[in-house]
């Protein structure tokens, strides 16, 4: 009875968010009664809140010697996810959905792992299942939109982003993504509108400056693109995406020296950047440095960039 009392005291502490005391009570109840499996589960729960995922896992494993519930499998999935054991986590989430088919969060995290491993079709399927269970979470819409964006289904992505917006997501990240998709569908008016809204929400969100620049690129307004990307670089001077894209804008303007400087900087920051090698090769070619261009193109090729036939011919010894 004493262990039960201890356990119940722990639950009371947990209800009041006094995690340390709750954990103490659960450990005491387990000291008295090591077979009180619920105390293991609640200890795991406490450890999860405290971000001590190893101890969380240990307690869940103890609990699961005698019990298997959707919650505990899901929680084990979360711990494994946090610890970077993605395959195990994915299996846990999946098992949680088998035990409890209404566990939208388990579907959601399946989708997250699918996305991170590049399996966008499965990610879309899992986010959709989560949405079928709970259609009011903007995060599900947002993340499914990101998947559509990745596979180039920009119209579908726009639909999901708009839905997320209507459910209360007002972040710059969402507006920036929306702007990007509008840009890809050549809907410049809406792209510009969303870029401006994103910048209005958070002027330090550097990704928006890039999208803004890309809209200008689409409109072939390279001068404007340079200005926008330079604004972004004021916030994050060593951002290789902004530097690379500004280099492209300079290149299109025929300002090859400035383009070269930007690509040089990208390669100083990331000596393994295939795109920057390729772009610098193009720039050197325009500066009639054929040897330098070929050297850069070969570097790009060795990093997975496919070279056009004429480049290969041009660089033949």
């Amino acid at each position: 009875m004493l262990s039960f009392n201890m356990y119940n005291t722990g639950v009371s502490y947990l209800k009041n968010n006094n995690i340390d005391s709750a954990l103490y009570c659960f450990s005491k109840s387990l000291a008295i009664n090591p077979e009180l499996s619920k105390a293991y589960y609640n200890s795991a729960y406490c450890y999860y809140i405290l971000r001590d995922y190893d101890n969380c896992l240990r307690n869940i494993d103890m609990f699961m010697k005698n019990n298997i519930t959707a919650d505990c499998v899901y929680l084990r999935g979360r711990c494994n996810h946090h610890l970077g054991n993605l395959e195990t986590a994915l299996a846990d989430y999946y098992n949680a959905t088998i035990i409890d088919g209404n566990m939208d969060m388990a579907y959601y995290y399946c989708g997250v792992i699918n996305f991170e491993s590049g399996d966008y079709a499965k990610a879309i399927s899992n986010f959709s299942k989560a949405l079928n269970i709970n259609g009011k979470k903007y995060v599900y819409y947002y993340n499914r939109g990101c998947c559509y964006k990745r596979i180039g289904e920009y119209e579908l992505a726009i639909n999901d982003f708009i839905k997320a917006l209507s459910l209360g997501d007002n972040s710059s990240q969402l507006k920036n993504n929306l702007a990007f998709c509008y840009m890809k569908t050549r809907n410049v008016r809406n792209a510009v509108k969303n870029v401006n809204e994103a910048l209005g929400t958070d002027s330090a969100f550097v990704e928006t400056y890039n999208t803004n620049g890309l809209v200008s690129y689409l409109m072939r307004n390279m001068k404007q693109m340079v200005i926008q990307l330079t604004d972004g670089l004021a916030h994050r001077p060593n951002d290789i995406v902004l530097l690379n894209n500004r280099g492209v804008a300079y290149f299109e303007l025929g300002n090859y020296e400035s383009a070269l400087a930007d690509f040089d900087k990208v390669l100083r920051l990331n000596p393994d950047d295939a795109e920057a090698y390729f772009n610098r090769g193009n720039t050197k070619m325009m500066l009639r440095d054929v040897y330098g261009a070929c050297s850069d193109w070969h570097q790009a090729q060795s990093r997975g960039i496919e070279l056009q036939e004429w480049i290969i011919e041009e660089c033949e010894p």
């Binding site: 008295i32 991170e116 303007l253």
Partner: protein
């Protein structure tokens, strides 16, 4: 006097450019009368050449320079030098035209001259891509000449300048390289025609024995210029060309003849002679007598250029015949060849339509194989300046709207006679920078369109906080105990080491109330037991009746349940001999208030303390040795004493390890006595 001193000073220094007020060539303006005479003499000689029907600007310049050295402040003389240079060496004209612009006097000078001077200066600025200055001077030129023709021309120039400002800021990816000196002489070299399957080209040049350097470009067939010769050069690579030699094959043609195309198979060539198109067949090293093409290919108007398409189905040609879109237009006519070298033409000549032809001049045309693209030159409104190269692509209805090939292939100067090479990535063209100086260039398009790699950020998915996670799962709630349900617990008592059954007398205490809930004796052979116990409680087991097994640490937990259940539970007993050190697992210590201090948790440790107390109270001949860290052992001993155990029954054996657990050794009385005696 002061002015004269300045003039003399400038004369001595040989300064070329004037700054100041206009100074006319009149006697009283010159202190040095000899210099005045010299200046006037040269002016007259220069004017003779300058105002001739066929002006010789380069010769006139020599005289004007002498006069300029004596008086650099004359607007008209600066204008004349500027004009001479404008037609011979445009890039040197600017200082003189600029000086003239500052010296003009609206009251005394001819407004048309001012207009012309401003126009030339504007054109020089345009060539230098300084479009705002160009626009300024074009407007100035218009303000001094109200004739419709000049205003129409200036309007076009201004619109081009405004357009060019944008175009030149977005250059095309093309290299335009001047071919080597051996090909480009000091004279006009132009109209390259690729032959021998693109392994060489024929071009026109008036490099030798040229009596006059007047250009024959554009309207070459109208100008009866002598001495146009054809040269041939091998193309070894894009940077390497063979020796330039006269092309003997075309040596039999008349001086005025212009060869504008040689068929892809090298069997025929097209010739422009006196404003008409002729065709001649090439048989080995011989050129047949040119045959004039019939009407309607040739008209009463001028035909100035012709070429075959590569499949030899059409001749494309330039004509200014009536009924076109205006100026010179491009037409085509189909033909068949029969009996080896006879041509039969369609009756119908086709104007290529408004996507190609405009009210301005379209001149020179050339096509890719299969008519995949048509390149032509035009001075239309959307040219950058002068003549530019345009390209039009075919569709099922004809030709799509022509596109300017853009800067820097096209410039404010004249780009003429573009000859594309089969893959369209490069071609040869003629550029006329100065009025009398045409050269051949090689253009190479670098296929970069949309090939620069744009980077994007990798999307980060929105993640949920741990709080959101935990909204999904919940902790286990409080346990609800129901004492009404009795659970049947059965099993065996066995020796921990040997697993042999143990016969022992057991009393079961409710840990919460410390009341006896059950009492039984296990079977000596089987060790089995079966007891009914209320669920939702913890129970202590107190042993008696077997001296080998005095103590059981096991606490029986019976979870709360609402339905009758039965548990099977084997209980292991550890023999209590003198050697046995029994680790008290359920004795709980917690950190104290000071660092390193540990305090016995009485509540959590109550069951084990109760068990030991019951054992000691039930066995008078038994005492304890408490083994462990001094602090922990003493706290434990005190707790036993507080629960009624005599201190005589307790002894200590301290271990110098702060983390060690408390253990006990159970001693029977006689042994204790021996031990005590030993101490």
């Amino acid at each position: 006097m002061r002015k004269l001193l300045i003039i003399l000073l400038l004369s001595v220094c040989g300064s070329l450019v004037a700054v100041g007020q206009n100074m006319e060539f009149v006697k009283y303006n010159f202190y040095n009368k000899k210099a005045y005479k010299e200046a006037m003499k040269n002016l007259k000689q220069g004017d003779k050449l300058f105002y001739a029907k066929n002006p010789d600007y380069s010769q006139a310049l020599n005289y004007f320079y002498v006069a300029q050295n004596i008086n650099p402040y004359n607007a008209k003389l600066n204008y004349k030098i500027g004009k001479c240079l404008y037609y011979s060496c445009k890039d040197k004209a600017k200082p003189y035209l600029f000086a003239a612009d500052g010296l003009w006097n609206d009251l005394t000078h001819d407004s048309l001259m001012i207009s012309e001077s401003s126009f030339m200066l504007a054109d020089v600025y345009k060539s230098e891509l300084i479009f705002d200055s160009a626009v300024y001077y074009f407007r100035k030129a218009a303000s001094y000449d109200y004739t419709h023709s000049i205003n129409t021309l200036i309007d076009k120039e201004i619109r081009q300048c405004l357009n060019n400002d944008t175009i030149t800021r977005h250059p095309e990816k093309v290299f335009v390289d001047l071919l080597p000196v051996a090909i480009n002489s000091d004279d006009n070299d132009y109209l390259p025609i690729l032959i021998n399957y693109n392994r060489g080209f024929v071009f026109n040049s008036d490099r030798k024995n040229s009596a006059s350097k007047k250009s024959k470009l554009i309207n070459f067939n109208k100008n009866k210029n002598p001495v146009n010769k054809f040269y041939y050069c091998d193309i070894i690579s894009k940077n390497d060309y063979g020796t330039v030699n006269e092309y003997a094959l075309l040596g039999s043609l008349k001086d005025d003849d212009i060869v504008t195309d040689i068929s892809f198979d090298g069997k025929f060539c097209l010739i422009i002679r006196n404003g008409d198109i002729y065709v001649s067949s090439i048989n080995g090293t011989e050129l047949s007598r040119p045959k004039k093409l019939p009407q309607p290919v040739n008209s009463r108007d001028e035909e100035s250029f012709a070429c075959f398409n590569k499949n030899m189905h059409y001749i494309y040609f330039v004509s200014d015949r009536a009924g076109g879109k205006g100026g010179k237009d491009i037409y085509r006519v189909s033909f068949i060849i029969y009996k080896e070298d006879n041509f039969r033409f369609s009756d119908k000549v086709e104007n290529l339509g408004e996507n190609v032809n405009t009210e301005y001049d379209e001149i020179s045309v050339s096509l890719l194989p299969f008519d995949n693209a048509m390149y032509f030159c035009s001075n239309r409104m959307d040219a950058i300046g002068g003549f530019d190269v345009f390209v039009s692509l075919p569709d099922e209805y004809g030709w799509l709207p022509a596109k300017n090939l853009g800067y820097p292939l096209n410039t404010p100067d004249d780009e003429l006679y573009y000859y594309p090479v089969r893959d369209s990535r490069h071609g040869y063209l003629t550029r006329r920078v100065n009025y009398n100086d045409a050269n051949i260039y090689r253009a190479e398009f670098v296929d970069f369109d949309n090939k620069m790699l744009i980077k994007n950020y990798d999307d980060a998915l929105f993640d949920l906080s741990d709080e959101d996670d935990l909204k999904t799962v919940s902790y286990e709630p409080e346990l609800v105990v129901s004492e009404n349900v009795v659970v049947s617990v059965s099993g065996r008592f066995i020796d921990k080491d040997t697993h042999e059954p143990v016969g022992v007398s057991v009393r079961v205490y409710d840990l919460n109330t410390m009341r006896i809930k059950a009492s039984f004796v296990t079977h000596a052979q089987t060790g089995r037991y079966r007891i009914p116990l209320p669920s939702g409680a913890d129970y202590l087991l107190a042993l008696s009746g077997n001296d080998d097994y005095l103590f059981c640490q096991k606490i029986l937990h019976v979870e709360g349940t609402t339905t009758p259940q039965s548990y099977e539970l084997d209980i292991e007993l550890q023999k209590t001999s003198n050697e046995s050190l029994i680790n008290l697992e359920n004795l709980v210590f917690v950190p104290g208030t000071t660092e390193g201090e540990v305090v016995l948790d009485e509540e959590a440790s109550f069951p084990i303390i109760a068990l030991i107390v019951m054992m000691l109270q039930g066995n008078d001949n038994v005492s304890l040795v408490i083994v462990g860290n001094e602090s922990k052992a003493v706290q434990f001993g005190k707790q036993l004493v507080m629960n009624g155990i005599s201190t005589n029954k307790l002894s200590y054996q301290f271990v110098d390890e702060p983390d060690s657990n408390v253990s006990i050794k159970i001693l029977k009385e006689e042994i204790l006595k021996e031990n005590v005696g030993g101490e």
